[in-house]
Symmetry: C4
Subunit: 275 residues, 4 copies
């Protein structure tokens, strides 16, 4: 699906997950300081949320795979065209493969959080592998295209491999809020950048095409990528602030007495961290 | 041995080790939760297994070295052809060198687990070095070949260097089940990919040759590599499930009472890990 | 601002911060051993200093952004020249983007140390991202220039990406004096190298221009870069020595008795570290 | 000094240090298990040894710098030839720069172990930087030379950057015997490879010159590099065995009773490590 929609679809998936994580991780972080505020904050609540996230991920991946295979101009599960003696719709197959690994990651999420068979932290490893495979396929995807086309995909690779590395580190530093926020920001960046790629390569509504060989376009696009990232952090900051603020209000309502104690101990702990 | 067998042989070695590890590590992980289930689960049992593994590795490496040297068209330990003023059978010598480092790793395994002279974790370092040397030699191996030939070997390098990195991390995170499974998956991938390379470069049974310069072939092969990896994880998942399931049955037979306690404490530990 | 001043300005910023850090971190390290020596050494004192540092950083970034936008030949916030159908003053916009991220880092510093909303270690992550973005933009900045021009910027990238990596490690090893000194040295190096780039590319005062294609110039510049680094460490060593020496004098004045005890326990701790 | 001696000299320095470390680290490791065996095994003894090592390193670096500057065809501290309008003896200056950083590392070693001013682990950082600078200068050193010449230096870079990385890890995992042995092996490799480079590029005694463009020579050299590494580990293994064996004998003589206790507890500790 080398068209505008083919980039907007995955872009929306990533944006959705990025936005969801920008709520989930601050919530988890704020709740960790006071476990009994409300239901979601409890361990069982978060476990259920993780399972749902896994299901949504697996379903999205399935939809993506089916869409790539059964769109009118798709391969319909045919891999080799024996008449023309050539591979059939390799692009769609590559995209299906990317979705496949996200699907596996979704299934692993479910197994990790719904059963106690799979070792904890395996969910992070599998998501890291899924993101890495996406980047790996993209890396060999753009071979031989126009300069600007290659460049926008290379920029995309930065956020993809950055995300994969971040997730791999989470295997060892599980629950580290810094890594979780970094991962979230890179996920939002990836989502919004997919949309940007769509606009650059397939200008909708009769806009003039971009000159694929203009060096200035490359320089602008690189800068634009950084703006997307600044925007991703802005979005994350807004959501973080709202979530933390809501949790604080809830906490004050619940038990004003304990609150004071909490603030002190929390402060001390942070001091220790610093030292 | 630049032919089908020359790729199938190491491929089988890696597959064998990958499959063995896909049984060993889950078994170790499952037994760690209950040390007295059956003999193999005990510390002494695992130590003996490690020694045997080291012996098998060293013997395989010796077989590989002898095979590379003394096959009919091999160098028979001659390195320089003084008549022709050129190096003799460099390929076979390179392969022998790869096997040599695996042999050293096997010997170190034996020394680490049979004596208490060598510092623990040295076995991981030496295996990491052996895998790295394999990748290092392969990297300079394919210089100046056809495009597809280079590409299949570059893909192979991903799993090799990934495995070396993973093993190096195990020096610091010894016994981490996540890293052990990751290493196993990369080992199975390497084994099955060796077979794939054999089929691609030396199609057996009169199959048509692959077009070495077709860009579509490159794209298909990249995707195919990812499928191999998905397959490696599937295999690993099946073995993991069977092993964990068998250990649970054994445990229930042995002591149904303690089992309940175990499940609780295990659950709590996982909760702590998560937090 | 592709001229001498355009390199001297950021160079001075980095030098200033490098020199400040070369005082701050040794001071913090020396005070950690005896918390009550003088006001700055206390936790609250350092917290206030961090807030001021954040404010200065944000203000400098703002000045940089305004300077890039509103110098006589600047873009004055115009991004696209519709008449000429081309991007307007992309260089200035790129530099503004770099300053933007440092500005964000400054704001995060303030929030981290003045409130207890932002998770500790987030200041390091954001500074790491700011430095990384600077390097990222520089990397695509110099495409297609003369050999020597590219080379001096590639050398600059070494210190930039080194600094970004060092700051990222500080997220996990917060307060590690080794990493802090390494970061400081790389910051001073970056600052002095910016000045050197100015002198090489825009020789002031009618000096002869450098031959951009002479291989010997490249080799000299590489070596010169190492000398700058040696000089950075020399500067750091001088400041470190003065600071530690001043703190020791203060300590001796304050309580000669406790001093002896301190030395012993400190010595023991270092012995433990070694083991 | 682009001749045989110019490679044999640093090669001998590295070999000497590698061999010394292959005695020191196993000795330290063996003594750590029983601190009172003999004088060198005590903390003060090792501290004195470290200081001596630092002095030797600084003196060697000084000799190297003076040799590079004041050999008959050296620059004699002249950097720019104003007559010919070109840089003077850049090679010698580059080598001097390399030695300079090793000299700094030597001075830091002395300060770290003779005083308690410098933070522990700073010695490892500075040695890591010295090794990195060596690699950094070599990387831009070989630009534009013949293929084989470049290749032998690239191989050298592997051991240099590997050593720098290993030393940087030692900042965080100080006293880790695995990292110390790895570093030692890479140091021996570097030393013996310098000799090999000398033999390849400047065949002594009227030997025929190597064909710089023969692909087979490149493949042989790569393999030869691996053999050097296997040889480095063999040397290390021999020294390790002798040292551990001597310490054990000393221990048995000293106190046969405590020995038994030690073995038990040591065994237990290793079991814990494994789990």
């Amino acid at each position: 699906m080398a068209n505008f929609k083919g980039h907007a679809l995955p872009g929306s998936f990533f944006l959705l997950f990025g936005l969801w994580w920008s709520v989930k991780f601050p919530l988890k972080y704020a709740c960790r300081k006071n476990k009994k505020v409300f239901y979601l904050g409890s361990k069982a609540g978060f476990q259920r949320v993780e399972v749902i996230e896994g299901i949504v991920k697996a379903v999205f991946a399935l939809i993506g795979m089916l869409a790539e295979q059964f769109v009118p101009d798709g391969p319909h599960l045919k891999l080799y065209n024996y008449k023309a003696q050539e591979w059939d719709h390799l692009m769609n197959w590559q995209h299906s493969t990317m979705y496949l690994f996200y699907g596996i990651s979704g299934v692993v999420d479910i197994l990790t959080h719904a059963t106690n068979v799979v070792p904890v932290a395996f969910d992070r490893l599998m998501l890291s592998i899924a993101v890495f495979v996406e980047g790996f396929l993209f890396y060999f995807h753009v071979h031989g295209r126009a300069m600007l086309d290659i460049h926008v995909h290379i920029l995309l690779l930065t956020s993809i491999f950055g995300g994969a590395l971040c997730l791999f580190l989470e295997v060892f530093y599980r629950g580290n809020i810094i890594l979780e926020l970094l991962r979230t920001s890179l996920c939002i960046l990836q989502g919004s950048w997919f949309w940007q790629i769509g606009f650059v390569l397939y200008p909708p509504g009769g806009d003039p095409e971009w000159d694929q060989k203009d060096h200035n376009n490359m320089m602008f696009i690189t800068m634009c990528y950084c703006w997307h990232y600044a925007f991703a952090w802005l979005l994350l900051a807004v959501n973080y602030t709202v979530v933390v603020w809501l949790v604080r209000i809830k906490m004050k309502e619940a038990k004003p007495a304990e609150m004071g104690l909490l603030k002190t101990s929390e402060w001390e702990q942070e001091s220790e961290d610093e030292i």
